[in-house]
């Protein structure tokens, strides 16, 4: 035969079960809406059926962005080197010209004279 304490425990467990069932049932009734921007964000990121566009997407993907950014100074330096004429260049040209003239002078020397 159950003691009064057992009966009390049993009814307490039943009450706890009922409370949990009630709380869990509330989960399904919670109102919830996804953020409005989410659907358009997903649609904007859909891969296309165009392999070239996919390749371009791959290159512009977020994990490449940092690499591209890090390479920018190099690209900038290369572009600068190709387009800008530095004063130093003309100095080198002068030196080349002098060297050429010197060679011509050497050729003019007749070895018999030596």
């Amino acid at each position: 035969m159950n003691s009064p304490t057992d009966k009390q425990d049993h009814s307490s467990t039943e009450a706890l079960d009922a409370e949990l069932d009630q709380l869990l049932a509330g989960l399904a009734r919670e109102p919830h809406e996804a953020p409005a921007h989410l659907a358009s964000r997903v649609l904007a990121n859909l891969p296309t059926n165009n392999p070239f566009a996919d390749l371009l997407d791959w290159f512009t993907a977020s994990y490449w962005r940092s690499a591209w950014t890090a390479a920018l100074p190099l690209v900038f330096g290369f572009a600068l080197g190709m387009t800008v004429q530095f004063e130093g260049d003309s100095y080198i040209d002068d030196l080349d010209m002098q060297a050429l003239l010197y060679v011509e002078q050497i050729e003019e020397i007749e070895f018999d004279e030596i």
Partner: protein
Amino acid sequence: MEERTDESLMIAVSRGDEQAFAELMQRHLNALHHYASRLTRSPSGADDLIQETWLAVWRRAGTFKPRKVRLSTWLHRILHNRYVDSVRRNRLVLDEAVVAAAPDIHDLGEAAEAAQRKALLDNAIAELPVQQKAAILLTHQQGLTNQEVAVVMGLSVRAVESQLARARRTLKDRLRESR
């Protein structure tokens, strides 16, 4: 005009129909986002998980077999797998801001006490191990049958029942402690 079924929309999606994809998303986005929000407890984490899930749906639409599972079950399975992967990689970070704040018990009033019990349950669910949490949410929040939960989680029905029983035990303990 007759509404297209999920299955016919999926066939269109597998052929690259973006409009059909948008319609499917409109139908299932809220439910999936609700589940993702509960799993991750982070708004940005839930958004990322949803995006990964729908991109996977777009890529793998051709592999969906309507005779085997309902579309919602298949969608939940993709989301669940993505979530488990991200947990393994420790990529998801719990956003402390969205941890439910339990109202002060001394505040009293029936509504305040109900809100306090609900917040307690929310936090207890959040602290459950991944499998138990998923089983509880899929069953009680998403309304899936045990068979469907088993498909989503890649477990047997008995294993799902075991996860549910363990989760209930933990949740009851938490409710008992707070009395």
